[in-house]
Amino acid sequence: MTTHFQRSIGFLVLLSLTCLGCAKDPFSTRPPSRPTGEQGTYRTPVDPQIALDTNLYYAMVERNASHYPLTLADSLVYVFDYLLTGPPDSALTWGKLEEDRIARNLFAGTTAISVAWWPTPGRSDRYEDTLTTLYRTYEITASILEQEGTKSYDFKGEMVVQLARNPQDLWWIVRWEDLHKGDGAPSWADLKSRFR
């Protein structure tokens, strides 16, 4: 029994020593600097439209990589119909970590992004108590940094966005479906794929 007890204690000591070398304090944050810039546009998402039409929209326009992931659920599923270019095993879906990474890449790799979207004609937004589906048609112009200089590209498409209440009872995006237009023009998913 004593051997067993000693082994238990030894096991814990060993694990503690191993892990202390790469532990992270779960209680305190680093001190910030006093602000010199303006705050970005972000409203408390008490309605699904605020989460999409205000917070996601301004996160894109202001290229705010801090606000962008706040609009997305931890369990986000991003799906698209197809990509115009890309490797053969490009997944047709990804999650929040990839979206966060793409947003940082996109904002750092562009000099300006202009976005416009509006309710998709012929579609009615679908409201349920805990799940809302919004239909939007968009046009994006992105000035992308390339070796030869900055080039401007247009992206058009439709998106079907499902939003749900998060644990704080605020709305965030749980499913985001991107669709090409009928003319086959590059979509938002093509823009994201460029920065994966």
Binding site: C22, P26, R126
Partner: protein, 612 residues
């Protein structure tokens, strides 16, 4: 689209047919998914497996155009008896993907493999298959055909060693290689893994290593086939878990306490790496040459204990994620520390108390400060308290209180104006009452207050943050009428308001809007026979909002157009004693959002499966 899955009993030895067919029509989208699996044969003779899946999608886009996608995959496998050390295995596989009427694009791929599987003594298995593969890519008038030899090679070794009546060491190593040498698009993929599992009553150790390497060519553009890209992939995973449990029932008091704790430790390390190369640029939207590397490592430590009326749980989790890109200014490292602890105490047989807390901080660090993101921290604190009181065998009262705080801290001066704090207070008393065996009543009240502050916004008369309040009463009733009939009824009333916080000798909320919602949902669960279940139901929602306009010293409430929706649905299922399983789901939904547009939505699904 709703995914419908109907399981069917299936075993390798018995012939079986499993099918699934699901159709749905909703929101201008038609989907049909169909799959079939057939297993025929005798284990003592040749056995056949056939699996096919067909997915069709038609989506009506705005502007009158359609998006049509079709995917079809089929696999036919023949195997000789398992009793022989040498087995014959033949695979015939085909796949088709097409986008019709939008891009008029199609991809066909097929593969034939034939070979053998040799099982040697000592759990060693060798597998070798050779064959032919062909592919065709088509986009409009452009077409590219390709073909070449295909191969599949595998080896597996395993061993089990027993060190006593209850100690066991189990090890396995596996190697698998698949590839082809098509003229234009050759591909190779190799995977090897090693697993060791050692277990005895008080300790267990599990170690795993896996590595995958892939090298394949592809057409970067879906419309032209004159450029070929190359993709190299490398994925590594190392996983270790060490669990230890100790318990004592003798010795001194301190040792008894220590021994009563069951310690548990988990360690997980994973690394994955992706490398992309393109032989030539295909324009601004093409794949960009270079590397994308992601590395992750994490571990967790935990302990659970029960000592008399006390129960205790504590976990510490650590996570580290590193992203490396082509340019250093896009790189980022995220490090998370999380402490999760809970304590429960059973005061009396009828009363118990509990507290649960989570403290989590994630720090994002970047090597080069950029204009759009910088070093930042995200902190989260959650504290939950509950009390459970059982007044009678059929009456339970459980009030809960919780507090959640989320704090975002951006370190740089350029971005720190966005720093904000979110505080949520929740009080939720709940009563569960079963006055008789036929009636169950669950009544929940919920009151929430969500405060949001910007950290650096001065607290002036112009407002200081916002407050979102929500109060809700939910009544759930289940009436069991007969042994085969039951009703469920749910009614929810909800009040919400939102507004800024202003200094009036104390922070008060100036309401911008308030909203009242009523929701009703009724279901009948009827089982006329043991094999048939029918569930009709209906749902209603009515929501009325008011905007508050400040006029002088007063406030005027202006009613918004009300929102309502109603839904009727029917679910039916039949499971026959001959193995048939059929399920039908039909729903019709009408919504009026007050904008003059009434939205009508119908969807139905049919699923079936059968065992032979």
């Amino acid at each position: 689209m709703i995914v419908l899955f109907l399981p069917a009993a299936e075993s390798a030895a018995d012939p079986s047919v499993t099918g699934l067919s699901a159709f749905s029509s909703a929101s201008h989208t038609l989907t049909w998914s169909d799959s079939l699996r057939v297993h025929l044969g005798d284990p003592a003779r040749l056995s056949w497996d056939f699996a096919q899946r067909l997915d069709l999608l038609r989506k009506e886009l705005s502007g009158g155009t359609d998006l049509r996608q079709k995917g079809h995959h089929a696999l036919l496998t023949a195997r000789s008896p398992e009793t022989h050390p040498c087995r014959l295995k033949i695979d015939l596989e085909g796949e088709q993907r097409s986008f019709v009427e939008t891009l008029n694009r199609q991809t066909l791929w097929s593969r034939f493999l034939a070979g053998g599987l040799w099982r040697a003594p000592g759990q060693t298995t060798l597998e070798a298959q050779l064959g032919w593969t062909a592919s065709r890519h088509r986009a409009g008038d452009n077409r590219a055909d390709d073909g070449g030899f295909a191969r599949r090679l595998g080896a597996k070794w395993g061993a089990i060693r027993r060190g006593g009546p209850s100690a066991r060491l189990k090890t396995s190593i596996q190697l698998l290689h698949e590839g082809d040498n098509r003229t234009h698009l050759p591909s190779n993929e190799t995977k090897w893994s090693w697993q060791t599992d050692w277990a005895q009553p008080s300790d267990s150790v599990f170690l795993e290593w896996e590595e995958q390497r892939g090298d394949s060519r592809f057409y970067p553009s879906r419309d032209r086939f004159d450029q070929i890209g190359r993709q190299e992939k490398l994925y590594r995973l190392a996983h270790g878990r060490w669990s230890h449990a100790s318990s004592g029932d003798s010795g001194k008091a301190l040792m008894r306490i220590v021994r009563a704790v069951t310690w548990r430790a988990d360690a997980l390390i994973s690394l994955d790496q992706n490398i992309y190369h393109v032989s030539q640029s295909v324009g601004g939207l093409g794949v960009v040459p270079g590397d994308v590397r992601t590395a992750r490592r994490s571990y967790s430590l935990g302990a659970t204990s029960s000592l008399g009326p006390f129960g205790f749980v504590i976990d510490y989790r650590y996570r580290w994620v590193e992203d490396r890109f082509r340019e250093v200014r896009r790189d980022q490292t995220a490090e998370t520390g999380e402490l999760d602890a809970g304590l429960t105490h059973r005061l009396t047989p009828a009363d118990s108390l509990g507290v649960h807390a989570i403290f989590r901080v994630t720090s994002y660090t970047i090597p080069v400060s950029g204009a759009f993101f910088d070093d930042r921290d995200q902190a989260e604190r959650v504290v939950e308290l509950f009390w459970r009181r059982q007044f009678a065998p059929g009456l339970v009262f459980r009030p809960e209180f919780s507090f959640q705080r989320q704090h975002q801290v951006i370190l740089s001066a350029e971005e720190s104006a966005n720093n904000n704090t979110n505080d949520v207070y929740v009080l939720e008393p709940r009563v569960e009452w079963r006055p008789s065996r036929a009636i169950t009543l669950l009544q929940t009240f919920s009151i929430r207050a969500h405060y949001r502050y910007l950290d650096f916004k001065p607290a002036t008369d112009q407002g200081h943050g916002t407050l979102y309040r929500r109060a809700e009463s939910a009544t759930d009733t289940r009436l069991t009428q007969t042994r085969r009939t039951a009703w469920t009824i749910r009614y929810v009333y909800r009040y919400e308001d939102f507004g800024g916080l202003y200094d009036r000798g104390g922070w008060v909320q100036a309401v911008d809007w308030d909203r009242r919602s009523h929701l009703l949902d009724c279901r009948l669960i009827w089982r006329p026979w043991k094999t048939v279940s029918i569930e009709p139901g209906m749902g209603l929602e009515y929501k009325h909002s008011y905007n508050h306009r400040r006029e002088g010293t007063g406030v005027r409430r202006i009613a918004d157009k009300p929102f309502w929706r109603r839904q009727v649905l029917l679910n039916a299922q039949w499971q026959s004693r001959f193995g048939y399983n059929i399920r039908l789901s039909v729903a019709r939904r009408v919504q009026d959002s007050g904008l003059g547009v009434r939205d009508l939505d119908n969807r139905w699904e049919l699923g079936m499966s059968k065992d032979l």
